[in-house]
Amino acid sequence: MRRKRAFLLLWIVLTLAALAFGVADGSWLRHVPAKDHERKNPYEGQADAVAAGRLVYEDHCAKCHGKNAEGTTKRPSLRSARVLQEATEGDLHWLLMNGNMGRGMPSWSKLGDPQIWQVISYVRSLSR
């Protein structure tokens, strides 16, 4: 009886973990709430923000995503169509705030809104 209960508990824990990772895995874009999707970058079109964003990118993002955002063996390129075209800047802000922890992407909420928008300005500038 006790063993059955232990297995049941283990099953519940594993199922919850799988659900949590299932949500975190897959296409993060599908999980962005509408209000976040619509958010606008307050630094849009500002050259200073692109320059500042490049420095923040070099400090925090380059090691995983490559010096020129080309990606590394384990982490995706940020020059993909998904990042540069499909996702809105609001989507990217949501991703940086929340991370995609099941896939190894941490939350960068500690940077604060201004630096996150600056990084987005820099990443978006790569398509020009």
Binding site: A52, C64, G99, P106, K110, P114
Partner: protein, 294 residues
């Protein structure tokens, strides 16, 4: 007794080796909170190893001045799991310098997205004696614990399990963190409780568009308060120590973060003043570097 020149000399080759190893890696620019006791919900980035040295200097009114240090190795196992190993030691004036033990902690973030309040579960095993690092205050910890000589204090080995519920929020650049601590000595002793709360903010939120060492965004300032909450048999804020103090840190351009906090005892059970300082150094993607033979 203060460490003699000869004792420091013994460590010199190891210190040199440590600096050579650190210099061999390219560091990242950690954006750490200036807290010494309180944990925020922010985890170590996956694959990064952070080496931290935190020290506390204090003097109980009727005891000897002490310098206690913790060396910590914090590794981001995943984005939701951080593991950390500590080595602790202390030097007491007119007494001796001793290794006080080790700790192994793990922090798990159960919710994988950012919320208004983000919980983190903390589990630690520690095997220490004569510890003066004051990395937390629990139970009825007070300044009398600092009066025994090291020879006497180290005979009382504490093998303890420590659990923390860490809650953190980031809002408009501010971080607010609250910790509830429960600690159990594995010898037949009651659960002891404690708390820590802290708030901090960078001096400027937006980054500068040029490289700079002393820009305001490189500095973070805040305030920290912590203390005991008694034990299972006598829960409460009385008959235990409490501390409060400002805290500041600076993220240096070479990847090092320097922190400082003067802290003040809030009642007669507390040490009147503590001076805490810390150095943190983050090495990015440490396992991948070894695999690639860098």
């Amino acid at each position: 007794m203060v460490p003699a020149q000869g004792q420091i000399g013994q460590w010199r080759p190891w210190l040199r080796l440590l600096f050579v190893l650190l210099a061999a890696f390219i560091s990242s620019h950690a954006q750490e909170r200036p807290y010494f006791v309180t944990y925020s919900h922010e985890m170590e980035e996956p694959g990064n190893l952070e080496i931290e040295m935190f020290s506390a200097i204090g003097k109980p009114p009727t005891g000897n001045r002490f310098l206690a240090s913790s060396t910590e190795f914090e590794y981001g196992a995943t984005a939701w799991w951080t593991t950390e190993f500590y080595l602790d030691g202390q030097a007491t004036w007119h007494d001796s310098t001793i290794f006080t033990g080790y700790r192994w902690e793990n922090r798990f973030r159960p919710l994988l997205r950012e919320h208004r309040i983000n919980p983190v579960i903390y589990v630690e095993f520690e095997n220490i004696s004569a510890d003066k690092a004051l990395r937390e205050v629990v139970g009825h910890d007070g300044r009398d614990d600092f009066l025994d000589t090291n020879a006497v204090a180290r005979t009382d080995k504490a093998r303890e399990i420590e659990l923390k519920l860490i809650m953190g929020s980031n809002f408009r650049g501010w971080n607010l963190s609250e910790n509830f601590i429960a600690e159990k000595n594995l010898k037949n002793q009651p659960w002891e409780f404690g708390y820590a709360v802290a708030a901090s903010r960078p001096l400027k939120l937006a980054a500068s568009s040029h490289k700079c060492a002393f820009c305001r965004e490189k500095f973070m300032a805040g305030v920290e308060m912590y203390g005991g909450l008694g034990d299972w048999n006598s829960f409460g804020t009385r008959l235990t120590s409490h501390y409060l103090g400002p805290a500041v840190n600076w993220s240096a351009p070479n990847g090092m973060t320097l922190s400082f906090s003067p802290q003040f005892g809030l009642n007669d059970y507390s040490i009147p003043r503590l001076y805490r300082f810390g150095i943190q150094y983050e090495i990015e993607q440490v396992v991948h570097r070894f695999r690639r033979g860098e």
